[in-house]
Each structure stands twice: as C-alpha cells, then as structure tokens.
Symmetry: C2
Subunit: 214 residues, 2 copies
C-alpha cells in the first residue's frame, strides 16, 4: 500500500494511525501542501485525487480517498484489531464523535478555507485567527459535554481501546495546540488525546515522526 500524505495534515494523520494500529506496512509518498502553491493541486496528483487533498491510499488497483472512507475500508479488509465496537448503537456513538470532528470542526478550519478567507475575502489575520478559534471552541464545547457525560468513555472515547473516534481527536487536538488554542475548558478531550498519543501506533503517526516533517 502507498499513502499520499503530508506530515501536518489531520486527515492523513488519522489514516496513518489506523494503518499503524492494524500493523500494516505502507510506502509514504509525501505531498507538500504549501510548497510551490501546493503539490496537491498539480495535475499528476489530481489525476489520482481530483479533489486535490490528502490523503490518498493506493491498495493494488484501488485508489481510495477521504480519510474516514479509507479507515472503514481498512476496518473491513483487516478487521483486527477492530477500530469500531460491535454493537450498532456503540458504533454509531464512535462514528458520531469522529464525524463531529471531521464534518463540524476540521473542514471549516482547514488550509484551503483559511487561504480563501485570507486571499479572497481578504480578512485581516486577527479575524482569520478568531475564525479558527471559534470553530474549535464551538465544536469542542459540545464534544466535551458529550464525552464528559457518556458512560462509554474510559481512558479513550470508547472504554480503553482505540477507536475511530480517537483517530480523529488526536490530530484535532494537535492542530488546536499548534494554533495556541486554550484547551483548559476541554479536560476530557485533552485527557483522551494525551492518553492516546502515548500508544505506539499513535506516536509513530505523529507529524514530527514523518519523513517529510520540517
């Protein structure tokens, strides 16, 4: 398998954790999202991934895009260790935490939206920074409420075993810290992220541990 990735991309980070947890070897193909206007927007990469985003996973003849679709694919083709619980309602809980991050927080704060805000809407940097903080804070406020009150939460989102939810929480917390967001209102989220980050599969997937880290 070959993973097209960028060390700092949250979405690629999720897939790297999944591959590591499943014990799957893969070739790392770096796609620099900033250099030269972004390698992800060049025609050779777009032939693989028309959306011009990372990650892309190539498995034999199959070209897979969208991090959560890739992780569900890995779960179906390599079921052990499972990244989703067995009970449908529990699976829905884990998926909803993942999607809350992947749909409500990350897309509104990702690189291309921030670039559009800066260059097309031409907002000053403080408005852009407030934008970033706002979507982290509004998303984390409700996520913290859910995680602090749900009995299924343990050392990680679902008991003590890594699930799809933790794969999304860790990169989002990494991002928030990179932008110096005050995370003290979100102790459960931070506790889960810090616990997960110590697991080898998560540590090996961290941005600083990637071949293209700067």
């Amino acid at each position: 398998m070959k993973l097209y990735s960028y060390f700092r991309s949250s979405a690629a980070y999720r897939v790297r954790i999944a591959l590591n947890l499943k014990g799957l070897d893969y070739d790392y193909a770096p796609v620099h999202l900033v250099r030269g206007g972004g390698e992800q927007l060049k025609s050779d990469y777009r032939a693989l991934n028309p959306d011009g985003i990372v990650p892309t996973l190539v498995d034999g003849d199959d070209v897979l895009t969208q991090s959560l679709a890739i992780i569900e694919y890995l779960e179906e083709t390599h079921p052990e260790p499972a990244l989703l619980p067995r009970d449908p309602a529990d699976r829905a809980f884990v998926r909803s935490v993942a999607l809350q991050i992947a749909c409500e927080i990350h897309p509104v704060d990702n690189l291309r939206v921030l670039k559009y805000l800066k260059h097309e809407v031409t907002v000053p940097d403080d408005v852009k920074d407030a934008w970033y903080r706002h979507w982290i804070d509004s998303g984390f406020t409700s996520l913290e409420k859910r995680l602090a009150s749900d009995k299924r939460v343990g050392a990680l989102t679902f008991g003590d075993t890594p699930t799809l939810a933790d794969l999304c929480i860790v990169p989002q917390v990494f991002n928030a810290r990179r932008f110096d967001i005050d995370l003290s209102p979100y102790p459960t989220i931070v506790r889960i992220a810090d616990h997960a980050s110590q697991i080898e599969a998560f540590a090996k997937a961290a941005p600083a541990a990637q071949p293209d880290a700067e």
Copy 2:
C-alpha cells in the same frame, strides 16, 4: 423511532431518504432552525444533541447524531435494502462520494458558517454569495470528474441502485438550486440527482413534502 428534523436541512434530508428506502416508519419532530434564533440552540434540544444541529434520531434508549453515523446505524440494524455495495473497495468509493459532500462542501456552506460570515466577519451579501458558490463549484468540479470517469457509475452513483452517495448528492443539488447555482458544468451530478429524485423514497423525503415545509 423519532427523527428531529428541519425540512430544508441537507443532513436531515439524507436520513429521511435512508429511513424511507429501508421502509421504516418514524415520528417527525420539527426543529425550526431559523425561528426565534433557532430552536436547535435551545437547552431542551441541546440536552439531546449538544452540537445544536439536526438531525437527531431517537431509537428506543439510543440517541443518535451525525447523519452519516445514523445512516450506517440504519444499514447495520436494517440491512435490506443495502445502501452500501458488498465489495470493500466499492463501499469505499460510495462512502468517499458521500464524505466528499459531507466534509468538503456542506460544512463550509451550512447555515451557521454563513451566519458567522455575515454577523461576525461582517462581509457584504455578495461576498457571502460568492463564498457559497465557490465551495459548491470547487467540490462539484472534482466530484463531476470522478463520477464522469468511474465505470461503477450508472443511472445512480453505484450502478442503478440507491446508495449512501445518492443520499448525499440529492440534498446538495437541492441546496445548490435553491441558491441559483449554475449546474450546467456538472451534468453527471445533475443526471444522478434528477434520476434519484424520482424514486418514491427520495420524493417523500424532499423538503416540500415535510410537515414543517413552508
């Protein structure tokens, strides 16, 4: 089952189609996203869904949020008719189309983001409208490329049978038309949406057919 919904919400629309395709009866609980500043933000609804968004599906003791997590739950608890193909790579294809809409287009153009742009960033209406068009156009451009070239596409996204992908395409096209976006550059997307919309389960889920339609 009880579905908290708003007639015009794309995410609720997806779940309504899934419930109809599966032949599942449900009670419709309207949540008005605009009136009085938004019923979804009131404390009684937020006790159910801390994120303050629709839909929420209540099934017995289980409270389920996030449209794609709800649809995967329905798929697992009521497998027939299947909304995902059988082969893992095909499932990944269908899920990636759904996620491309649910993660790359819809969140950046949804009501709360447009409200923040207008009231906090205080952009004029033409900048807000250009924002809306930009994310539809950039998302649909790459989605059209994928759908026009993938051999799995038939009358619908995956052959002629409705899948999770069509459940996301139809509401997004409905939204784009509501905002008068020129869809002529996206003939495959439009063809799929129009074909799907004629299926009874989709027609019954349309905004105009809901009890809270205005």
